[in-house]
């Protein structure tokens, strides 16, 4: 058990939790959180991979930095869409989820 293995395994678990959360949740905000969690899992696996050499491989670090910035952009846009939808239609669920239950 070395740190890269530990964090890569945790990353895989976090990724799967996020993916399941995205598939199962209905509130759009929770889906956005779930996708962010899933992204964190992906990045954990990638950085853990880079840590297998010493000094670490910098390319995955650069990729993850890019990924983090892209993720925050997408999240900001998603939240703006969500609040606008909620303002216009009074619900934070996508139309197909609203009448279930």
């Amino acid at each position: 058990m070395t740190p890269p293995i530990i964090y890569a395994s945790a990353g895989a678990a976090v990724l799967c939790l996020g993916l399941f959360g995205f598939l199962a949740a209905r509130h759009v905000l929770r889906r956005i959180l779930a996708l962010n969690v899933m992204g964190s899992g992906v990045f954990m696996m990638l950085v853990a991979l880079a840590a297998r050499t010493d000094p670490p491989d910098p390319i995955p670090h650069a990729l993850v930095l890019t990924g983090i910035v892209v993720a925050v952009c997408v999240t900001a846009l998603a939240l703006a869409l969500l609040t606008r939808m909620c303002r216009d239609e009074g619900s934070a669920l996508l139309p197909e989820d609203r009448d279930i239950e």
């Binding site: 509130h27 619900s91 669920l93 239950e101």
Partner: protein, 104 residues
């Protein structure tokens, strides 16, 4: 270990004690205001001790100054945050219970 390292260990341990006390308070105390009290009082004292303890081990003047800068900044931020959280709690309690709704 020399005396300064012993002193440093003691100070850090005291700091950790205060942090633990603050965390216990956060979990055990009944409402927001008392929890805030536990967090800001105990944790700030704890952080002070830890910074003092670590500054005894600082390798250079620059490192020492960085460490000593930490405490006032954290104090400033946590006191302001404490004030804001307390104010928000007060406003919400005036608005009455059930301000947060469970609607879908």
């Amino acid at each position: 270990m020399g005396p300064s390292e012993w002193l440093s260990m003691v100070m850090v341990s005291v700091g950790v004690f205060f942090f633990i006390a603050g965390s216990v308070g956060l979990i055990r105390l009944p409402d927001v205001l008392t929890r805030l009290h536990a967090l800001t009082k105990a944790d700030n004292v704890g952080l002070g001790f830890i910074v003092l303890g670590l500054s005894l081990q600082a390798g250079s003047l620059l490192e020492l100054m960085k460490l000593l800068l930490l405490w006032p900044l954290a104090l400033l931020a946590s006191s302001c945050a404490c004030y804001l959280v307390a104010e928000a709690t007060l406003l919400q309690s005036r608005r009455g219970p059930g301000a947060r709704r469970h609607v879908r």
